[in-house]
């Protein structure tokens, strides 16, 4: 099932600053909500997001309950070489998802 939406330009010129948008499907349960009968709904969030560009980490984020559901993160990087972006989301209860996108840099 599709879990993530990634927006990376397919092509860029060397040296361009490109914007990368990521949207991951996740409830981001804060751990502060209660059920109708009063029990705390346990925390279940993504805690960390990272992006590697041809293997080198170019961006990382620590997330907290204050991040809205279906985390949307936009950041930028300089287009250096053609290749691959690898994205990783890690969270509570062993949550681990990866996605990737390619780019051609001329």
């Amino acid at each position: 099932m599709a879990s993530a939406l990634i927006n990376v330009p397919a092509k860029a010129k060397r040296g361009d600053i490109i914007e990368i948008k990521t949207l991951m499907s996740h409830i981001m349960e804060t751990g502060y909500r209660r059920t109708a009968t009063g029990e705390i709904i346990p925390r279940d969030i993504i805690t960390s997001f990272s992006c590697r560009y041809n293997g080198a980490e170019i961006f990382r984020a620590d997330l907290f309950p204050a991040t809205a559901a279906n985390p949307f993160i936009t950041f930028s990087t300089i287009a250096t070489d053609s290749g691959k972006f690898d994205f990783e989301w890690i969270g509570d209860n062993g949550f681990s998802e990866i996605a990737s996108a390619s780019i051609t840099v001329e």
């Binding site: 490109i18 080198a56 170019i58 991040t67 809205a68 950041f75």
Partner: protein, 156 residues
Amino acid sequence: MREPDDSTRRQFLGLAGGVVAFGVVTLRPAEATPAMLASAIRNVVGAAVVKTGKVKLDIPPLVENGNTVPMTVSVTSPMTSNDYVKSIHVFNEKNPQPNVGNFYLGPRAGRAQVSTRIRLADSQKIVAIAQLSDGSFWQTSIDVVVTLAACTDEVI
């Protein structure tokens, strides 16, 4: 009339004693206090002086819905290999927890700008602190107004 159970009586006194020590009991849910905010900031900056400037927080002053608030934080920086933003840390004042997010950049970022969507429990102050490559800290803060939805929704 039955005497209350000894154990429950002891529990009650213990609780009451605790309450008396702290003053009035309020029934609000857990909230970050200014002290929590200060200590969360201290965890990041240590004893360093935080200067005001260079950082910009873009959040609508009146949010449409506190559950999903678009936020863009940016730092004025040439982003070269000797002068760049290492990280940006965002904090809040009134959510149950003071941290909003930590973002780790570097010279390859090109632009020191991150956007995301956050949750805000109440009208409050948001603080963003950036650490530059020379070790200095810069900050900005803004006030955001958050209103509840007009009609209560059922729990699905």
